[in-house]
């Protein structure tokens, strides 16, 4: 029973996740825009932030903070920050 619970806790979300992910179109990160990366990465933990929430300088600081906290790649961080700075 204990093992069954363990399997259920992981197997069900995994199966659903893989099924849904299998339908996604794969595009390399290098070809993506900052707006697309902003929409895909921020939402992994919290809602996508409004570009207007901070000024250009603040986005630099927040970008570095989030690169470390969320372990974003250098390229993802650069593109996302550039998008937020251009759209605020």
């Amino acid at each position: 029973m204990k093992n069954l619970k363990t399997i259920l806790v992981f197997a069900l979300p995994l199966a659903v996740g893989l099924f849904l992910a299998a339908s996604c179109v794969s595009t390399k990160v290098a070809m993506k825009s900052g707006a697309q990366l902003w929409g895909e990465n921020c939402v992994r933990c919290h809602n996508t932030p409004s570009p207007a929430a901070y000024n250009d300088t603040d986005w630099e600081t927040i970008g570095l903070h989030m690169r470390i906290r969320a372990n974003l790649t250098a390229e993802e961080t650069r593109k996302i920050v550039e998008f937020l700075q251009s759209a605020n």
């Binding site: 363990t6 979300p13 996740g17 992910a21 996604c24 929409g39 992994r44 919290h46 570095l64 906290r69």
Partner: protein, 392 residues
């Protein structure tokens, strides 16, 4: 003297105005040194009925500022404090973390200090009230749980693109957890205490996490974590060799799907704690001590599903979010803190902005054993939580 001070202040004011006008004329030029205060706050109302015995209370605000100091593009200092009211109506200040990070290159980040441990993802990424979709942490997580929160030491982390996929790695050495031997708190003998700012032995604890995001849209992340070391005090011959090995497995899937016209968010984590078997002592009524031991293995897990109709045509509807969570906690059989608990939580959230949420949650917890529950009895606690949380 007063006249001199007034003259100096007046001259300073003139200079400041002139400087400000010059800045306005020439455009704002930011300095390379940046400082920000971010963080979050939350408050609310809670109603709980423990086997029919109801109680309710408003909860005082919690204020959790995060100080971020960026002296260059490669250096970042961050520190988080927490201000809370405890059950004795006192303001409690917690020191969550304070660490310096240095960007070595595109793939390596070096951190030192007290930092959130990447043991699974709940503690490091999901616990802040404005990010957590429910009003509290799953069973076994958060303060007093079996999941480690922070550690003091050094860490290397980074993200490596691998084709369309992405690999996240984390490796760290910290002071590690400390074993509660039950001398001061007999009912907690055998538990791990994770706040260990000064090491109680010379053996550092090592840990790490690997996270794989197999798809280029970063929608799915699968992670595995391990953390272990000696937990006994070096001066305590009875426990100096006691060690612990902790594992965690986590899953995250977040994707906006046109088929359901919104964002589907699935999170799950399973923690296993194994502590070497040791002998503890229970004080009897006559003052004598009876030795006892137990298989010190515990686990905690949760699975959460939330859905927000972000693609709905109505602006009000798209701000609603539905969430459900199952969590489970198993403490060792034979320990003073033995318990088996399961919990179901359901909630409706309304997002006032991207970082401000109003939550209404219902929660039912069934607990066998543990604090305040007589041996062999089962207690059911039903609760209603109305909270707001804001990130800033």
């Amino acid at each position: 003297m007063k006249v001199r001070i007034i003259v100096v202040l007046a001259l300073l004011s003139c200079y400041t105005v002139a400087w400000a006008q010059e800045e306005t004329t020439q455009g704002y030029k930011p300095s390379s040194t940046q400082f920000m205060i971010r963080g979050y706050a939350h408050a609310g109302f809670e109603y709980q009925a423990v086997d029919g015995d109801a109680r309710s209370t408003f909860l005082g605000s919690s204020f959790v500022p995060i100080f971020i100091f960026k002296p260059s593009d490669r250096l970042l200092f961050e520190a988080e404090l927490g201000f809370f009211y405890n059950s004795r109506n006192e303001v409690e200040v917690s020191f969550e973390y304070a660490d310096v990070s240095y960007i070595v290159n595109d793939y390596i980040i070096l951190r030192m200090g007290k930092f959130m441990l990447p043991f699974g993802t709940f503690t490091e990424r999901l616990h802040p009230a404005w990010i957590n979709r429910l009003s509290n942490a799953p069973l076994g997580f958060g303060h007093g749980g079996i999941a480690p929160a922070a550690g003091t030491g050094v860490e290397v982390r980074g993200a490596i693109p691998v084709g369309s996929a992405k690999l996240l790695y984390y490796v760290y050495a910290v002071n590690g957890p400390r074993l509660n031997t039950g001398v001061d708190e007999p009912e907690e003998a055998g538990q791990l205490m994770f706040e260990n700012l000064i090491d109680n032995n010379n053996n550092k604890a090592f840990g790490g996490r690997l996270g794989l995001l197999p798809f280029s849209n970063s929608s799915l992340e699968l992670g595995a974590s391990v953390y272990g070391g000696t937990v006994g005090d070096r001066n305590d011959s009875l426990y100096s060799n006691v060690g612990a090995l902790l594992y965690a497995f986590d899953l995250s899937y977040v994707r906006q799907l046109s088929a359901v016209r919104g964002i589907l968010d699935i999170k799950a984590q399973y923690n296993i704690n194994n502590v070497d078997q040791a002998t503890y002592f229970e004080e009897e009524l006559d003052g004598s001590f009876t030795p006892y031991t137990f298989n010190n293995s515990s686990n905690a897990s949760f699975a959460q599903l939330s859905y927000r109709p972000t693609m709905a045509g109505n602006d009000i509807v798209k701000n609603f979010e539905l969430v459900g969570r199952y969590s489970n906690f198993q403490a060792p059989e034979g320990a003073e803190w033995e318990q088996q608990s399961t919990q179901w939580s359901f909630g409706i959230n309304y997002w006032l902005s991207w970082r401000t949420v109003f939550k209404v949650n219902y929660q039912s917890t069934v607990q066998q054993g543990g604090h305040g529950v007589p041996a062999g009895e089962t207690v059911t606690t039903n609760g209603l939580f109305v909270h707001w949380a804001m990130g800033f």
